[in-house]
């Protein structure tokens, strides 16, 4: 990381034609980054994959550098004896729903913060951070009491509400930043040219908002997939999510190979999803550049 920081200013050296800049330098930086990525990702994930394949009969103890024998027994065991298939379905139904609803709830407030000035705005912005400062289990316990008392007994709906409130701060903050990036002159120009409201949104707002929308969806999705306290307290016993299972394997039922299996099941689809979203993000960018250029 240090080397990268040291090199960063070099990329900014003035060159006659900016568009050509840095292809050689980028290659060097890419090289450095690949080494870092190895430490950053390949070593830990390599370890996780190895752990998930450890044979239950032989184990993996020092001084064995690698597991003495490999088997898929752990994968079979986790799939057949835990509620993992159910948990996968629940988690992947819950998280996208939470991400979309949170975005919808956050957008008006974010718009207001970015485009209006009003007395007490600073205080209101601080107030949106409240869900972040209440510790997880405290929040979960009282949330469940509250939800029971409101007469909501659907597990899915209860966790959905709780997650939406819990992750609203992320969406509001990110969307506020996104709305701040919308340029007023573009909105004015579109209006002066007689564009319909929808056309105005499409031309002036969407390009600048797209990265923020995606960032918000990604962040909330991840948080919801990972969240344990509320999903467990409110969801038990018939609504299991992936982290509930993971926590059991890294807690009292500590079994590293099984934990590695659940970790990979939880993490790998997310990373793939991330790659897809990056592509979406990229396709949003040229539009933005085009508008600004």
């Amino acid at each position: 990381m240090v080397s990268l920081t040291d090199n960063a200013p070099a990329t900014q050296q003035p060159r006659p034609r900016r568009r050509q800049k840095g292809s050689g330098l980028n290659r060097v930086l890419m090289g450095i980054l690949l080494v870092i990525c190895t430490i950053w990702l390949i070593v830990p994930f390599g370890m996780a994959i190895l752990w998930s394949l450890v044979d239950p009969d032989t184990g993996w103890n020092y001084p064995d550098v690698l597991p003495p024998s490999l088997s898929l027994a752990r994968w079979v065991e986790v799939w057949t004896t835990t509620a993992l298939p159910d948990a996968l379905r629940n988690s992947y139904l819950l998280a996208p729903t939470v991400a979309i609803i949170t975005l919808i709830l956050a957008t008006p407030t974010a718009y207001c913060f970015a485009r209006y000035d009003f007395p007490g705005k600073g205080l209101a912005q601080v107030a949106t951070l409240l869900p972040l400062v209440v510790p997880g289990f405290v929040l979960a316990i009282f949330f469940s009491s509250l939800i029971f008392n409101l007469g909501i007994y659907s597990r899915f709906l209860s966790i959905l509400i709780a997650h939406c409130v819990l992750f609203l701060p992320y969406a509001i903050r990110i969307m506020t930043v996104a709305f701040e990036n919308v340029q007023q002159d573009l909105i004015d120009a579109a209006r002066d040219l007689g564009a319909s409201p929808w056309a105005r949104i499409r031309v002036a707002f969407l390009p600048a908002l797209a990265p923020g929308i995606l960032a918000s969806l990604i962040i909330v999705f991840i948080q919801s997939i990972e969240e344990f306290a509320i999903a467990f307290i409110v969801g038990a016993p018939n609504f299991v999510t992936i982290p509930s299972i993971l926590y059991s394997y890294l807690g009292y039922n500590f079994v590293r190979p099984n934990a590695a299996v659940v970790s990979l099941v939880l993490v790998v689809p997310n990373v793939l999803l991330m790659l897809g979203l990056e592509r979406l993000l990229k396709s949003a960018n040229p539009a933005q550049a085009g508008v600004k250029g």
């Binding site: 044979d55 184990g59 103890n61 835990t82 009491s145 008392n149 016993p237 018939n238 590293r256």
Partner: protein, 374 residues
Amino acid sequence: MFRTLIASAAVAALATGASAGGHSDLLSKSWDDIVAQAKAEGEVSWFVWYFQPQYRELAAAFTEEYGIEVTIPEGTHDGNIEKFLAEASRDAGDIDVLAMGLDRIDLFDPAEMTVGPLTEVLPNGSKMVTELGGYDGLGYAFAYWGNQTGIAYDPEVLAFEDAPQTVEDFKAFFSEEPGKFGFNYENGGSGPSFIQNIARNVTELSESEFLDGAVSEDKMAMLQPAWDWFLDDADGYVITASNTDSLVRLSNREFAAVAAWEDHLFNLQNQGEVDKRIAFYIPEFGMNGGGNYNVVPANAPNPAAALVFMNWVSSAETQTKFNEVFGAAPMHPDADDSNALVPNEMRAYQTIWPGNPFNTEIRQAFIENVALER
């Protein structure tokens, strides 16, 4: 709106055990009627915080016998208990049978919040254990699991003949082999058991004073020799992160011996997590033994099925099975206990946990006086 919400949250948090009396009908029925009702209910949920996958497999025998489906959710020990407390005001909760460490029985009033007394109701009731390790379940809570703390060691590094047995032995071990002994002070009770038994042996407190659970400033001050004992050899031992951390690092040859639970070691060895070479003993200066209880919450959604399940879990057959699979000490006099890691005569060194709140205060005092001072 806001006021209403706060009020309702308050009511939910405050109200406890609304309907304890509601099950007197059920308890007055004959066992055959209870079983019939249980079969009609058709399902039961058991909230237990460890070994859920293995329990799910074992519960298949129960489903086969009674045709009642068993749900064993994921969850933590205190998380389960908090859920039980938080939803006590609902007419029907989610929990049919709740498992807990025996000291947790002091957290609430069983007569108000759970179904019972059951000694006369359950067929196994008269033989099941309702008082264990100094904690009285009063016929509402029954033990289904017995366990023992002690020392796990690596026989390739430390021969049993050289293994420390007394407080003085440990002192000598710390100075001869610094950094080769590990124990935790949180995330599990094995380290706290070690700490408490050192304190029991090096302080002037009498046995009854030590166990009665009362707390006073004088009593806490009398623990000072124990804290000095630990501080004098601060480099002699390593504080680990949890029960499991201790055992895994022992297995990986970082330590020669650690404080551990017998049943926990047994299970980790079966899972291949800890090497089979690791052995276990109860030192002569004594370490704590205890177990876990089951209770049926007053608002259990399937109360009859819960009683049938509780009776089944504590039966001689199931307890024999638990000993085979988990190495747990059976909680039924007719069960077979031949799979334990230690010979029976060693059980004479078993001590019991001090009562609360003293039990908790010792742990906290260890943090204040030793852990933070290192």
